[in-house]
């Protein structure tokens, strides 16, 4: 994982993303595209904490669900969507910060970390499921148990509660948020904080021996990942117009991990690739009944773990680099040959 920033590639990447944003609605309906983008932001959040911080979180769905529920609850209580949207980022980020602080200051690592995050997700899932009785109210919002929370204010133009952002506009907003999230993380991982976090992900003990407080860095990174997952949750709530306990489910958590494995976590683009490709596959598989979705995803996961453990994005990048190197060496050979040919030509004259 090289840290050298390459602004040229970044500009090309953003340009291509904008082209995709404008072109894709001609091929896939924007309602589906919006969901794929929301999934991409969720995958990006796990890609950050796992790929760069080395923290394998089995419960990214917990922050996603918290974001969605926070948005729904605050939207019902406040009405206008701007503040609920911000709170849907702040609440999961704070929750992740507290959970992270408990885990990292408690020196939990590896499998214990995975177990704790998984258990927290399950607890939230069970809890939200059991909130059907009318006592479970936050302000005027009833949590609704298994049925979830419907009928809340969806995303609107800031300060204009009646100007809803939906259909194609919602898709564009999601895409722009994805691009901004990507750019934000791009600069974050290239900042001193990001570089230290990557170092910690590589070798925690060495980072400590150098003098970095590993616990602090991991907690902050975990909170950033939680906040980003919350942002995806808020967008999801606005997209689905209902939030249900299924957002906290094990299946949701597992899916995010599979997206990251397939896309690759050593690059920020990896989780996005994974989420889009597998999300699309799920969409098309959902239109038939012959093959079971889970079976297909299981086979894909096994294939990637066995044959392409780095994931798609790093593999594509390495093939691209090899092609460029081959092109350069051919050009250099031709350059070296050129003076000799000129010399021969000159002598022949």
């Amino acid at each position: 994982m090289m840290l050298d920033s390459n602004y040229k590639n970044l500009i090309i990447g953003v340009f291509l993303a904008i082209v995709c944003m404008l072109v894709l609605p001609y091929f896939i309906e924007y309602y589906t595209l919006s969901l794929l983008i929301i999934y991409s932001i969720l995958a990006l959040s796990l890609g950050l904490v796992w790929g760069f911080g080395g923290i394998l979180c089995f419960g990214q769905a917990a922050f996603f669900g918290l974001g969605a529920y926070s948005y729904a609850v605050f939207a019902i209580n406040i009405g206008e969507s701007t503040l609920p949207f911000l709170l849907a980022i702040i609440v999961p980020a704070t929750f992740a910060f507290i959970l992270g602080a408990i885990m990292f200051y408690g020196r939990l690592t590896d499998v214990y970390l995975g177990v704790i995050t998984l258990v927290v997700t399950l607890i939230l899932f069970r809890f939200i499921n059991s909130t059907a009785s009318p006592e479970y109210m936050i302000g005027t919002a009833h949590l609704g148990g298994f049925n979830g929370i419907p009928n809340f204010q969806t995303l609107n133009i800031p300060g204009m509660p009646d100007a809803y952002i939906w259909d194609l506009d919602f898709y564009y907003v999601c895409f722009v948020i994805l691009i901004l999230s990507y750019l934000g993380l791009h600069f974050l991982v290239r900042s001193s904080f990001g570089r230290v976090s990557i170092g910690i992900g590589q070798n925690e003990q060495r980072a400590e021996l150098i003098g970095y407080d590993v616990r602090k860095y991991k907690t902050i990174l975990f909170a950033v990942g939680g906040g980003l997952a919350g942002l995806a949750g808020a967008l999801y709530a606005s997209w689905a117009e209902i939030v249900t306990p299924g957002l906290f489910s094990l299946g949701q958590s597992a899916e995010v991990i599979i997206w990251c494995i397939v896309g690759g976590v050593t690059r920020l683009s990896g989780p996005i690739f994974g989420a889009v490709i597998l999300g699309l596959l799920k969409y098309y598989l959902g239109q038939q009944t012959l093959i079971d979705n889970n079976l297909v995803f299981g086979v894909i996961l096994v294939i990637f773990v066995l044959f392409l453990p780095q994931g798609l994005a790093p593999a594509i990048s390495s093939v691209w680099k090899k092609l460029l190197t081959a092109k350069k060496s051919t050009r250099n050979k031709l350059r070296k040959r050129a003076p000799r040919q000129m010399q021969r030509g000159h002598l022949n004259e």
Binding site: M1, M2, L3, S192, R195, V196, I198, G199, Q202, N203, Q205, R206, A207, E208, L209, I210, G211, Y212, D213, V214
Partner: protein, 238 residues
């Protein structure tokens, strides 16, 4: 006489019934180079881990420049200006040599100064030809040198090394000896080692560990000539 920079009082580290470090009183003075030697299982590496915060002592005290650090975390001890190198090269395999050293320099300097510091250290340790390589691609000896560069990038006044020459070939060992001598001009050093030839080429004062306690502390020549030390290394009971 130089000021005492590190001392331990009645330091103990017990694992169940095993006394890996047993009532150790140890003193290190400014700019001193001290080698800790002893047969396998003598407790030198456990003592090293206690000093660096990697193990929390069962009892006793550690003072660094007068400050009690007995139960401090590793990063807090490191921030006092102490460079630490562990027995197995402890590096970030997925990052380049330059990046590994930069992370160390950045801890104590701003970005510009850190960049400059990295260049200085690379020149000092003579690893200019491998700066862009990933640590995972390097040979053992090169990894040891890079780890030393990581340690030096933080400008430490005390350097603690655990078996810096372990697994190195003859030429690499010679380079390491030169580097250690150079570091010792500006920093006190504690070196845990069991290679006698290596110790003879770098040390004056040697502390011999045996069964968790200090058996002897003296000049390297006296230590090597001592019958008790010979018996310890030959596996005889003292």
């Amino acid at each position: 006489m130089n000021e005492i920079v590190l001392e331990t009082h009645n330091l103990n580290m017990h694992f169940g019934g095993v006394k890996a470090v047993n009532n150790v009183d140890f003193t290190l003075r400014e700019n001193e180079l001290r080698c800790l030697i002893g047969p396998n299982g003598a407790g030198k590496s456990t003592f090293f881990k206690c000093l660096t915060g990697l193990n929390k002592p069962t009892s006793g005290e550690i003072y660094i420049r007068g400050e009690e650090t007995t139960h401090w975390h590793t990063h807090q001890i490191s921030r006092l200006g102490i460079g630490i190198k562990t027995q197995v090269p402890n590096v970030m395999d997925g990052l380049s040599v330059w990046e590994n050293i930069w992370l160390s320099a950045r801890r104590y300097h701003d970005v510009k100064q850190a960049n400059r510091r990295v260049e200085e250290v690379i020149e000092r340790i003579k690893i200019g030809d491998i700066t862009k390589k990933l640590l995972g691609e390097l040979a053992h000896g090169q990894r040891q040198r890079v780890e030393l560069a990581i340690v030096l990038a933080a400008d430490p006044w005390l350097v603690i090394l655990d078996e810096p020459a372990a697994g190195m070939t003859g030429q690499d060992v010679e380079i390491m000896v030169d580097i250690i001598r150079e570091i010792n001009r500006s920093a006190a050093m504690i070196i845990v080692e069991h290679d006698m030839q290596f110790i003879q080429s770098i040390a004056n004062q040697v502390t011999v560990f045996y069964q968790g306690s200090i058996l002897m502390e003296d000049h390297v020549d006296n230590v090597l000539a001592d019958q008790k030390v010979r018996d310890v290394y030959l596996g005889r009971n003292v």
